[in-house]
């Protein structure tokens, strides 16, 4: 499948890197030890997106797609149980619109912003997914979140989002913290620099714990290991939430290699550094520049600081093999659905899934559904179903505009984010999850009493847009905690402190419980998140055997 996708994207003009022979070049990526990932500079994801965008432009030019820029879907409309349209708001004029259709496809991305801080774009939200959930689409595995190990650490309370440093950096960077707590203190207080520490004084904790995979362990393992060190007090910046990603050995290694290639006998250390730096610069120059702009430190001279951040949500709308949700005629594709990744996701596979859903699966499965609708004709929008859906959307907007409370939308979003990060983050336990559910519910009640949305409903109003999204996050967050509580095992990105290996080589590592938990949790909405009903979809594995992962 992935080879097909590369062929497709190349045909569309995505400039994948080539080697000197003119063939596709590749490199290794987190979670694997062999070079098997094709790439386009440090921005493969962005280029695949632009490729899809160009294909859409072609269809727009041919009149097959009508784009509605600056519009937000705010509800789905069902007629006789089937998805028959949506209510959308023109974000510029504030006008509510009715759009009817024979099928509805949700491609609205993931819900990582339920944590307030994540690597997701500021506009990413769960509203479309949550609205269809409330109208009958099951929501699967909401607690499955990917927390990415290589992000730039938070610098203060004003932080609005987190920046991902490409995973490719882990190919050449070595992750460490000081071995001695005194050195940590000295570094935080500015008395010592990381480069002052000798090899003996450093703890390359991934290489120590996972000798086989070292710095290339999967994202969830690398993230938890960083948290473990920082929780133990070894974090290297003022907030205590940062570890080093060091390129010094890579620079030396590449420098020596280059010296050999160029036939330089007995190169000086300075020459080795210069040659090695050149290679690192060619590979990661743009990322290093980005880091320097944000943190104001030169990563060629001093190690980078990184810390895990919320990056991707494996959970999402439940779909069948045809990508249809439990609402007939309503489909969900891409990060918005729960398919493909299970409890974990390996590097580079999100776009593989999104492109496969959109290019290779949906065009065939939706055609089958539509073939039964050939005689349906155009669906009118002046019906009670559309009327009612539009009214409920309008009522909610009017509520926010008229509420005149005392706190901004961000005030609530940040509080929600705090609860999520502390109690539903990289490691979870029953007590914390119960508290989280109760705290989110209380926060939601306070939100409806005291939120303040300035401006009016009939203009561009970003506070109003955010208010609707945060209201939905405040419900989704509670379901998230409830789901995490039910899953009493550790698996993939979901780590339950009660479920760890007690002894042996794997002591302290995540412990699965396949006998009891080899199922998808698909939640049905029943009014309040706490009333949601669990449907278990049993997972059957025929070709592979389920087993504990080992990166030792």
């Amino acid at each position: 499948m992935s080879a097909n996708i590369i062929d497709q994207c190349v045909a569309q003009g995505v400039p994948f890197a080539r080697d000197y022979g003119g063939l596709l070049d590749n490199r290794s990526f987190g979670g694997v030890l062999v070079s098997r990932t094709f790439y386009a500079k440090g921005q493969t994801g962005q280029q695949l997106l632009l490729g899809a965008y160009s294909a859409m432009n072609r269809q727009i030019a041919r009149g097959k797609i009508t784009p509605f820029n600056r519009h937000e879907m705010l509800d789905i409309v069902k007629v006789d149980g089937k998805a028959r349209g949506i209510i959308a708001r023109d974000l510029v004029t504030g006008k509510l619109e009715r759009h009817s259709a024979h099928a509805v496809v949700i491609a609205s991305g993931g819900y990582g912003n339920v944590y307030f801080l994540s690597t997701n774009a500021m506009g990413s939200n769960a509203t479309a997914a949550w609205k269809i959930h409330k109208k009958g689409a099951f929501f699967a595995n909401p607690c499955y979140t990917q927390i990415h190990p290589t992000c730039i650490p938070r610098s203060g309370d004003y932080q609005s989002k987190l920046t991902l440093m490409s995973e490719s950096l882990r190919n050449d960077g070595r992750i460490w913290v000081p071995k001695n707590i005194e050195d940590v203190k000295a570094i935080r207080e500015g008395h010592k620099k990381p480069t002052d520490l000798s090899e003996d004084e450093r703890d390359y904790y991934l290489e120590r714990r996972y000798p086989a995979f070292g710095n290339l362990v999967p994202r969830d393992v690398a993230s938890r290991a960083a948290k473990e060190r920082c929780d133990a007090g070894y974090g290297v910046n003022a907030t205590g939430e940062a570890v080093y990603l060091d390129f010094a050995s890579a620079i030396t290694r590449y420098g020596k290699e280059q010296a050999k290639i160029h036939g330089i006998q007995n190169p000086t250390d300075a020459k080795i550094y210069e040659l090695g730096k050149g290679i690192v610069e060619a590979k990661y120059g743009n990322l290093f520049q980005m880091y320097e702009k944000i943190v104001d430190e030169n990563p060629y001279e001093t190690p980078m600081m990184i810390y895990p951040a919320v990056h991707y949500t494996m959970g999402g709308i439940w779909v069948d093999y045809n990508l249809m949700t439990t609402i007939p005629g309503c489909y969900a594709i891409g990060e918005a659905n729960f398919s493909d990744h299970g409890a974990n996701r390996l590097g580079a596979s999100a776009l593989m899934q999104g492109l496969a859903d959109g290019y290779f699966v949906l065009p065939y499965t939706i055609g089958d559904y539509l073939s039964h609708e050939i005689r349906t004709g155009k669906i009118p929008t002046d019906t009670p179903e559309f009327e009612e859906a539009e009214k409920s959307v309008k009522d909610r907007i009017d509520f926010f505009i008229n509420n005149k409370g005392s706190h901004s939308v961000d005030y609530y979003h940040k509080r929600l984010g705090n609860i999520m990060w502390n109690k539903c983050g990289m490691s979870r336990n029953a007590e914390g999850l119960k508290e989280a559910a109760a705290e989110i519910k209380a926060l939601r009640e306070d939100f409806y009493k005291n939120v303040s949305v300035p401006g009016s409903a009939d203009e561009l109003n970003s506070e109003l847009e955010k208010a609707g999204r945060v209201a939905d996050f405040l419900e989704l967050g509670e379901l998230f905690a409830k789901d995490a509580l039910v899953r009493e095992e550790s698996c993939g990105g979901h780590f339950r402190e009660e479920s760890v290996e007690e002894d042996g080589e794997q002591k302290g590592e995540a412990k699965r419980n396949d006998a009891e938990f080899a199922f998808v949790s698909a939640w049905e909405f029943k009014g309040e998140p706490s009333d949601a009903v669990l449907h278990k979809e049993q997972l059957e594995f025929n070709e592979i055997e389920l087993k504990q992962r080992s990166y030792k």
Partner: protein
């Protein structure tokens, strides 16, 4: 640090608009420019006033939406970055900062600092693609070898994020750097060559229709472009355009 901000406020497309002064205090040098704007907006909301509208999404230099003209420069005083990547350490205590939208006839203001750049979308509808269907069955990507140099150059052109800084910086409000980058990405690759003639003609025609100005080789666009798109791309587009018209 404490700052004075002079910001363009415009209620809607038809409103005349004007500069309004604001004061912000305790701004940390580690904040990004947009985080400073967040602080201002929180302050305005708490005073019962309307926050300043501005476009932003990725906040890491990818989406190209954060179009601000800061102290007379698109994306502000730093180089090789977008507004969202600009940090407050570029300013000092007591500074006055002027913040305006990207201005061009083809980028009408929607509200405050938000402009409508759908003219860029329409230029891409006119030819910013290769005519291939998206349901698989394409040929093996290695069947057409591509020289590393051509692939790298196409990649450099493909880094354009469509932010419009080139237009905002140009005294003629020309979109040649943007269109040049899009034309080049495809013209440099064998898969894109097949439609190269139609593509350049259609995209240039749409660019003119949208009301973008002409290029008089001042080069301000290249300096302000956050992605380092080079003037070489304009030259390549001109060559493509000339030879396309000769072929007619």
């Amino acid at each position: 640090m404490n700052l004075t901000l002079k910001i363009w406020r415009q209620k809607g497309p038809k409103d005349k608009g004007s500069m309004v002064d604001y004061k912000v205090s305790d701004i940390s040098e580690h904040m990004s420019f947009l985080e400073m704007m967040d602080v201002l907006n929180e302050q305005l909301i708490s005073e019962g006033k309307e926050p300043v509208a501005f476009d932003h999404d990725c906040r890491e230099g990818i989406c190209g939406s954060c179009s601000m003209f800061i102290n007379g420069e698109a994306h502000g005083p730093d180089r090789g970055i977008t507004t969202c990547q600009l940090h407050m350490r570029m300013f000092k205590d007591g500074d006055t900062i002027t913040i305006e939208p990207f201005r061009a006839k083809a980028f009408p203001v929607i509200k405050d600092l938000v402009v409508d750049r759908s003219s860029f979308d329409r230029i891409q509808h006119a030819g910013g693609y290769i005519s291939v269907n998206t349901y698989g069955n394409t040929q093996d990507a290695n069947a057409i070898p591509i020289s590393k140099y051509a692939a790298d150059e196409a990649m450099d052109a493909a880094t354009c994020i469509g932010c419009g800084a080139c237009v905002a910086s140009c005294k003629n409000a020309s979109a040649m750097l943007f269109v040049g980058a899009k034309v080049s990405q495809y013209a440099l690759l064998p898969q894109g060559r097949i439609e190269a003639v139609d593509r350049v003609k259609n995209m240039v025609a749409q660019m003119d229709l949208e009301g973008f100005g002409n290029c008089t080789n001042t080069g301000a666009c290249e300096i302000e472009c956050p992605k380092g798109i080079s003037l070489e791309n304009i030259a390549r587009m001109n060559r493509e355009y000339l030879s396309a018209n000769i072929k007619d």
